[in-house]
C-alpha cells in the first residue's frame, strides 16, 4: 500500500489551500469518490482555518489508515495555540469566541466519520478526524 502521508505546516491563509489540495490528492489516490474527497478537503480547510485564526501556526497531516479490512483517511490538526477552555461548548453549533465566525468544529464532525479533540487552555489543540471509504454497494 502506498504510504502517502502529507504534512503541511500552517502559517497563513495560503497554507489552508495547500493543505486541502494535498489532502484531496491523498483521498483521491486512496480511492475515495469525488464527493468524499471534497468533504475531506472541506474538513481540512475548516481545521486549517481554526489554526490560522486562533493559534496562528500549527500543522495539518493527512494519511491513509487501514483498519479491520477497511481503508480510511486520517486528518490530524495540531497547534500549540491558546487552546479551548470548554471543548463541549466549542462542539455546539453556532458557538464562536471571535465574533461572527464559528470554530467550524461541529461542521467538521458532521463531514467526517470519527472525530476526536484534545485541548486545554495554554496547551494547544489536537483534532484527529477520520473518514472511511464506503465500499459497500447500494443494491
Amino acid at each position: 500500500m502506498p504510504g502517502e502521508d502529507v504534512r503541511v505546516p500552517i502559517n497563513s491563509d495560503q497554507d489552508i489551500i495547500l493543505a486541502r489540495q494535498r489532502g484531496r490528492s491523498v483521498a483521491a489516490e486512496a480511492g475515495f469518490s469525488a464527493v468524499d474527497a471534497t468533504l475531506i478537503a472541506t474538513a481540512i480547510s475548516e481545521l486549517a482555518r481554526n489554526i490560522v485564526s486562533y493559534a496562528r501556526s500549527g500543522e495539518i497531516s493527512v494519511h491513509v489508515v487501514q483498519e479491520a479490512g477497511r481503508r480510511g483517511i486520517c486528518i490530524t490538526a495540531m497547534d500549540s495555540g491558546p487552546g479551548i477552555a470548554d471543548v463541549q461548548q466549542a462542539l455546539r453549533d453556532g458557538f464562536s469566541t471571535s465574533g461572527s465566525l464559528g470554530l467550524g468544529l461541529p461542521g467538521v464532525r458532521r463531514l467526517m466519520d470519527e472525530f476526536l479533540i484534545s485541548s486545554a487552555p495554554g496547551q494547544g489543540t489536537v483534532v484527529i478526524a477520520k473518514k472511511w471509504k464506503q465500499d459497500r454497494q447500494i443494491s
Partner: protein, 120 residues
Amino acid sequence: MEVPILKQGEFLIATIQAALSDADLEQLRMALVQRVVKFRSRAVIVDVTAMDVMDSFASRTLREIAQMIRLRGAETVIVGIQPEVAFAMVQLGLRLEGVGTALDLEEGLAYLNQKFKNSS
C-alpha cells in the same frame, strides 16, 4: 490571485479561476462593491465553477458581498456551485441565505436579463 471582473452592460461578471485564499476573497469583495458603485451596475454574477471547496469563510464572504451589493440596490447571483461542493456545504451546515443562485453563467445571465428586461 486576482479575480477578473468583466462589465457586461448593466451587469458585472466575476469569474473565480482557481482556489482563492482568504485575502483573495476579501479583495474580491472590495473590488466588486467598488465597481458596482462606479458602473452603477444592477447586478453581479459570481462564477464559482472553479472553486474546489466552499468552506465557512468563503460562504460567509459571498453572503457579505451579496448583502453589501443589495444595500446598493443591486442583486447578486452565484453560479456554478459544483455538486460535490454543494453536498459538502449542506453537510457543513453552510447556507447562502438571501443570495440568488443559478446553475451556470448562462442561466444566471438569462435570469437577470429576464428580470431587468422591462426596466432598462
